[in-house]
Amino acid sequence: MNIINLTSHLQRYNSGWIAYNKKQNKVVAHSKTFDSIVKKTKLKRDILLVPATSNYLGFVT
């Protein structure tokens, strides 16, 4: 099974949320807040909301 590679889609964003269209394989919206990205993409289908940040490495629990 192939990984889902969002690298190229996320590298332009340092914060907030992106709305990624899974079928079209592209970012269709970006917002600073969760509420805003939900409202912006309310009528769109096949959307995956992904947090945007400058660095995803270095997370421990």
């Binding site: 099974m1 969002l6 969760f34 993409t41 992904v50 660095n55 995803y56 490495l57 421990v60």
Partner: protein, 140 residues
Amino acid sequence: MAIYPYFSPQQDVYKPWIQIRLGNPSSHQLIQQSIIALIDSGADACLCITDIAKALKIKLDHTKTREFKGVNNQPIQTIKGSVQLYVCNTQLICPFYFTDKLPPSTPIILGHECFFNRFRITFDFKNKQMELLDTLKKVN
């Protein structure tokens, strides 16, 4: 059993993320979009940023607080709320602990209480995939 691929949000970074949907069990309001969540075997419970509770209009009972600690022993104050969780073709009502103290890369964490209680999870980092088995569903 279902197999899910890892996500790569950054070059050479691979995450056991899964697509979930969230709802408010009281109002039955559902966020239409799928959302990324981290499957975290080191987390005792499911945690989530407060913004998502606000979007779902989940009433948070400020008398139901719980303190968690991260790896650096710093306290994380949370408020408990009830969430409808759709994951792996299963619908659950789970306690989530809401806080503003989660890292930006990880706004939703699926931990032991409720999630690992229910699913048997095998992380296969070598093949960048994970297997989830719903322990309450009968296998044909």
